[in-house]
């Protein structure tokens, strides 16, 4: 179980893995995530499930190399097994036939966005998707997103692909052009913060999928706590998606930096070992 059956590099930093786990493949819904561990010394960390094939019994994970744990995961090859994998965790995305849905994905956030875009499209909505990244190399899953969207806008910070600009520019163009009934944003926390501020201006109900630090992922420890509407919620059991306009993104960004020194040190030691 948990054997890697496919591995594909989208760029030198972003990798797609297809992993054997028939039970999670069957029980998972869009929006769910898993917690994994690589090696007996590994830490537990979350990844949103980017896709699943219940017939084949596999799930798809997309990981961006950031520090030690993501590097260890990406160092695995086809045929290797992930030491521990548990799921599906979190509340699934609430999908309904609401009209026009604006989906916005930043960087590797496009991977978990894909099954949600597919679900909204299958539910009968018009789906307009904006995918954005710093540069061309970091744009992923464009073809798959196009398959399930009525329209796709690609934005890059440096203009190396698609249009130059931030994701919010693409989003605002659509919002000003037509009525949007619901918005879903997934990406780096700072991207979600500004996307949310934008849609708040226009009163568009928006869901954001938060990427808080987690340890157990099952509601046990509170490491992933965020303030939503003035109340403390746990990203792993109350989320990972929340009403973006209620999320205290500044506090979330602060909490994401809680282990910066430890992360830096660990990455240094790990690179020296290689």
């Amino acid at each position: 179980m948990n054997k890697i059956v496919e591995k594909e590099y989208f760029s030198d930093k972003v990798v797609r893995l297809v992993v054997e786990n028939p039970m999670i493949a069957k029980s998972r819904k869009p929006g769910n995530f898993v917690i994994l561990r690589v090696g007996e010394d590994g830490e537990r960390f979350p990844l949103t499930i980017a896709g699943a094939d219940p017939v084949r019994g596999t799930i798809t994970l997309v990981v961006q190399i950031m520090g030690v744990s993501s590097s260890k995961l990406v160092a695995l090859e086809v045929g290797d097994s992930i030491t521990d994998l548990v799921g599906p965790l979190g509340k699934p995305t609430h999908i309904s036939n609401i009209g026009t849905v604006l989906a916005a994905g930043g960087g590797v956030g496009v991977a978990p966005l894909l099954p949600i875009v597919e679900a909204f499209k299958k539910a009968g909505n018009k789906v307009i998707t904006v995918i954005a990244a710093r540069n061309k190399d970091l744009i992923i899953l464009e073809d798959e997103i196009r398959k399930w969207s009525d329209e796709v806008i690609v934005m890059t910070d440096d203009g190396s692909y698609g249009r130059q600009g931030l994701v919010t520019a693409g989003m605002e163009e659509i919002i000003q052009r037509e009525k949007v009934d619901e918005c879903i944003v997934i990406g780096p926390a700072v991207m979600m913060k500004f996307a949310s501020l934008l849609t708040k201006k226009y009163n568009i109900p928006t869901q954001a999928s938060l990427n808080s630090i987690m340890v157990d992922g099952t509601g046990m420890c509170g490491a992933c706590r965020v303030t939503v509407g003035g109340k403390t919620k746990f990203t792993c059991v109350d989320g990972p998606e929340f009403d973006a306009h209620q999320v205290d993104f500044d506090e979330m960004l602060m909490r994401l930096g809680g282990y910066i020194q430890e992360e830096k040190r660990a990455t240094e030691i790990y690179s020296q070992k290689l």
Binding site: D84, V215, G219, M220, G222, G258
Partner: protein, 476 residues
């Protein structure tokens, strides 16, 4: 054995002193046990104190009714392996209980010496640990007898003390038992909650191996209700479920600043250190360290947290507790060990607010002093803030250990399961049966945060009653 020594001679022996690792040494090590264990001669001398009362009130004080005089007399006789067997008749995890039971409230409080002679009790806990450790170290394989397999499948949700004790009994009755655990390690609070310096994980693993040898099956990384549903398991043939998913939901005080970095629940802090080994460099999981650490709370979890902080390099490790020391629920031995190690006790103090530096890392807190008023619902005197008593304390790490609530995962998957407003599962107190007839429950998911031994008692009761329920069902 009674005639071997006269009772009046037995009473002359002083209660044994458990050898303890010196405080200055032990604060440098997360993984060195404080209590080092008795030698054989010490154990036998202590066992001689026990007068094998014709009406042993000590047994009444034990939540799993261990035959205490019986195992103690085996120790006196020198037959330690038989003492261990006696323990195993009623207690699946004697090496655990001998270390973590609040004996001063249970068996030892009912000892004849305490009841009638106003002298220190027989050191029942130390003797229990001695017998269990002796058996483990002897290499003697002492697997209890099991009835012949009846082919009926039962499952536990969770792998903590309630589930393990249930599994041990059910496998003896002949059932096909699978323990399902959400985490990647078995043992629940025994592994993630109780530190190495109180309960080494190797001791827990030894007990788990015994259960495996008896035929209990374990599945990790498996969340019943999510990874697969209860209906899926029913389709696979499971006829009975014991829900023992614990009270692993942290409680916070909801005061300003509580979400600053460096403020952790005790669950998070202890899980990082005990389960994930964060104190050692070989393990990837980090833990935040502080020089001035405040732990809010007065129970065993607070003691575990504050003593862990010391071992992780704190210069000041402070317990902040809103009531007085007399009201602290922690084991007397833990408070004693904490004081020896240099933990400061700020009792009758309550946190009001936390402050942080520019990066959002906690840097201080504001507290006020409390007085004790009339008793509240728990029977303990109610703490009341003293006007104008506010003061500030520099802290760079805070652990919130003010209690835990039942984990909501399983109840959320079973809408028909009756739960209280606090999320605990409602059961018939004698049978441990829930509102869904093939589901029994026990441990903290029923009691809220309680003790290992009470969870084990629940597991035993649930096993006995589920056994009757399933036998009756198969007849009808």
């Amino acid at each position: 054995m009674r005639s071997k020594t006269k009772n009046k001679d037995r009473m002359l022996i002083d209660r044994v002193k458990m050898p303890e690792l010196a405080a200055v040494i032990r604060v440098k090590h997360q993984d060195r046990e404080v209590n080092m264990g008795l030698e054989l001669a010490q154990a036998q001398a202590e066992a001689t104190r026990c007068m094998d009362c014709s009406n042993p009130t000590c047994i009444e004080g034990c939540p799993v009714s261990i035959n205490i005089p019986k195992f103690i007399k085996y120790i006196e006789k020198g037959d330690i392996l038989m003492a261990a067997s006696t323990l195993k008749e009623t207690n699946a995890l004697p090496a655990v209980c001998g270390r973590v039971c609040p004996l001063e409230k249970q068996c030892e409080s009912r000892c004849f010496y305490v009841d009638k002679l106003n002298k220190p009790s027989v050191a029942i806990g130390h003797l229990e640990r001695f017998a269990a450790d002796f058996e483990r170290n002897s290499g003697a394989s002492n697997i209890a007898d099991t009835a012949s397999p009846n082919g009926i499948k039962v499952a536990t949700v969770g792998s903590g003390p309630a589930a393990l004790s249930f599994a041990g009994d059910m496998v003896k009755y002949g059932y096909d038992v699978t323990v399902f655990e959400a985490l990647h390690e078995i043992g629940g609070v025994l592994k993630y909650g109780i530190p190495e310096f109180r309960l080494p994980n190797s001791v827990v693993d030894f007990e788990l191996e015994n259960l495996r040898k008896m035929g209990v099956k374990f599945e990790t990384n498996y969340i019943v209700g999510r990874t697969s549903s209860f209906d899926d398991l029913r389709e696979e043939g499971y006829k009975g479920f014991f829900i023992a998913s614990g009270a692993g939901l942290p409680r916070f005080m909801e005061i300003p600043g509580e979400n600053f970095n460096g403020i952790l629940s005790s669950n998070e802090y202890l899980t990082r250190v005990n389960l994930m080994g964060a104190a050692t460099d070989e393990k990837d999981t980090p833990v935040l360290r502080g020089k001035n650490v405040a732990v809010i709370g007065g129970g065993n979890t607070a003691m575990d947290s504050v003593r862990t902080a010391l071992r992780l390099g704190a210069q000041r490790a402070i317990i902040v507790y809103r009531r007085s020391e007399a009201e602290m629920p922690a084991r007397v031995e833990e408070v004693k060990h904490a004081k020896e190690e240099g933990v400061e006790f700020m009792t009758l103090c309550n946190p009001l607010e936390y402050f942080a530096d520019a990066k959002g890392r906690v840097s201080g807190m504001r507290l006020n002093r409390m007085g004790l008023g009339e008793p509240d619902a728990s029977g303990r005197r109610r703490p009341m803030p003293i006007e104008g008593s506010e003061f500030e304390l520099d802290v760079d790490l805070v652990v919130v250990a003010v209690g835990v609530s039942p984990n909501p995962l399983v109840p959320s998957c079973l809408p028909d399961l009756k739960v209280t407003k606090w999320g605990t599962i409602i059961v018939d107190e004698d049978k441990m049966q829930s509102s869904i007839s093939e589901m029994f429950a026990g441990g903290d998911i029923v009691r809220g945060g309680a003790t290992v031994i009470l969870a084990m008692g629940d597991g035993r009761r649930a096993a006995e009653n589920m056994h009757h329920y399933l036998q009756n069902k198969s007849i009808n």
